[in-house]
Amino acid sequence: MQIFIDLANWLRAWILGMGISTTATELILTAVWTLVVILFVLINLIVLVWIERKSSAFMQQRRGPNRLGPAGFLQFPVDIVKVLGKEDITPAAADKFIYKIASTCAFVTAIVAIAVIPFGPGMVLENLNIGIFYFIAIGSTATLSLLMAGIASNNKYSFIGGMRTVAQMISYEIPMVFSLLGVVMLAGSLNLTDIVASQKNMWFIVPQCIAFIIYFISTVAETNRGPFDLAEGEQELVAGYFVEYGGIRWAIFMIAEYGNLVAVCAIATIMFLGGWNAPFGLTFLPPFLWFMLKVYCMIFLFMWVKWTYPRIRIDHLMHFGWKFLIPVSLANIVVTGIGIYVYRMITG
Amino acid sequence: MDKIVDREALVGELNQKFGNCAEIFEDNTNQSIKVMPEKLVDVMTELRDNPKYDFKVLVNLNSVDYPENFTVVYHLNSLTYLHKATVKVVLDKANPQVPSITSVWKAANVQEREAYDLMGIVFTGHPNLKRILLADDWVGHPLRKDYNLQA
């Protein structure tokens, strides 16, 4: 299904036909596509939140949202309308400027990471040569916005939450990057489209299954989801870094969290699950849908883990990250390197 | 029904050890002994540590505002012999003071604070004798019979 590509070509031809220069056309097109991607992420959120609520409810033998729309599908949009109507409270002792921009920063980093993700062949906003590198770099800045929120709130609970976030996210970034490195070595490229293309015959989850598990664990920690949601720490820190936030600012944090979730799941799909490649030659579904299906399977895995496990303790978390995940991911890189060398020797 | 410690022997031994400090207290439970407040800590330590009695547990600490006196009641229980004893300390109505037994059982800590809070009995030597249930600026001790109920 090349409908998106066709649509882009048609749009380009139409704008060019109006007598606008090629550069300007490309600019307009990029703006349009950016908007489309943002909209896509936001619409995705509706599905995502719905799945989260429904799956958690079903696991807990509840019904979940069921009032608005079919099977409660419209609960999230209505909730957003509700939080928009709430009073925007800024604590008197807060660092007002940082307090206000923190939630926006979190949102921006979550959205910007989507830019390099190819949703299908050619369906990418910016086909960067260093796509995966860009994703990692953007992902790291998410830490900052959470720290900003934690410290600017001027609340002891959010302060502790902010500090925890930094410790946790910095520690888990390293195994995450290392686990992706194995795939990059196999594919021989940092470009996400190339990586997907090189998985035509075999998904990288097969040779890199350890890396996949490491990636999964460290991204759970990166996105602050259970059982690694120490930064929120519902039980001891009340809500962690966003304890003082309310109304739409709080909702933006939530949206950012889900946006991050989409981004890391998309990356997992691209790096390990063969991107838009159909498994076993089942090509009756268009590549785009295969891609989304895999992403949602990943997201369900995240949710399943979150709603089953209790929260891990912070010192265990750090020990696990530094003493287990990083050595294992390093070993994985070494083994991958040796494997590639041996493979080349055999195949000549 | 309840196993009760041999009171005569207990009182005799206590009196021998610490000088005239305990006597049998007659009530319907038949398990009470009355102890002089001055010797309370010694008696309690003895009751806890003497292997013959082995009262390892302070079961309950209560204070009662009788018309003629305040009585602090300590219920003791032994886990090995499963026998019981009640130690009563009778206090002056005007100046209810009794030595704290926090040094013997830490369980007494919160219960003595409660008795101080609600009944106004001063436990001398208590590490932190403050109100525990009522607000710090509360006036009076509500469980006393002369406490004015109407606000």
Binding site: Q61, R62, N66 | -
Partner: protein, 149 residues
């Protein structure tokens, strides 16, 4: 082996994912209440002999009874108010009632916007119904025994 408990937990949650849900769709689905359920009170005014046992037995003095004596020197109920805001719902009043005039009903939706609205005026809100009009058979004996005690 480390991790067995983790996998077992995942299995349990996945098992419940496809199970029948146990929550009730409350406003549409009404709960099935047991017969002894303590919801609110009903007073069958004709049966009431204004003996005051319910008011006496109440731990929190919730019940206020007003009565007057008629020509036969028999007490007649003229008002029955319940300060339901401080009611414990212990049911001692219903147990004490000698003529079974005071009964529990299954009206559990008692949330109101202000304290005063919670209070019940059982005499004023009484709706006559035909079976109430026959006074209980042993009402007289009960009354006597009540007065004796």
């Amino acid at each position: 082996m480390f991790g067995r408990g983790l996998i077992k937990g995942l299995g349990i949650t996945l098992g419940h994912l496809f199970e029948k849900k146990i929550t009730e769709q409350y406003p549409e689905e009404r709960p099935v209440l047991p017969a002894r359920f303590k919801g609110s009170f009903t007073l069958k005014v004709p049966k009431c002999i204004a003996c005051g046992l319910c008011a006496n037995t109440c731990p929190n003095s919730v019940i206020k009874i007003e009565s007057e004596k008629d020509e036969n020197n028999k007490k007649k109920l003229t008002g029955y108010k319940m300060m339901a805001e401080r009611c414990l719902y212990c049911g001692f009043c219903v147990e004490a009632c000698p003529t079974k005039a005071l009964m529990w009903n299954h009206d559990y939706e008692r949330a109101k916007f202000s304290r005063e609205e919670v209070n019940l005026d059982l005499f004023g809100s009484y709706v006559p119904s035909p079976e109430d009009d026959q006074p209980a058979k042993s009402a007289k004996e009960d009354e006597e025994s009540a007065q004796a005690s």
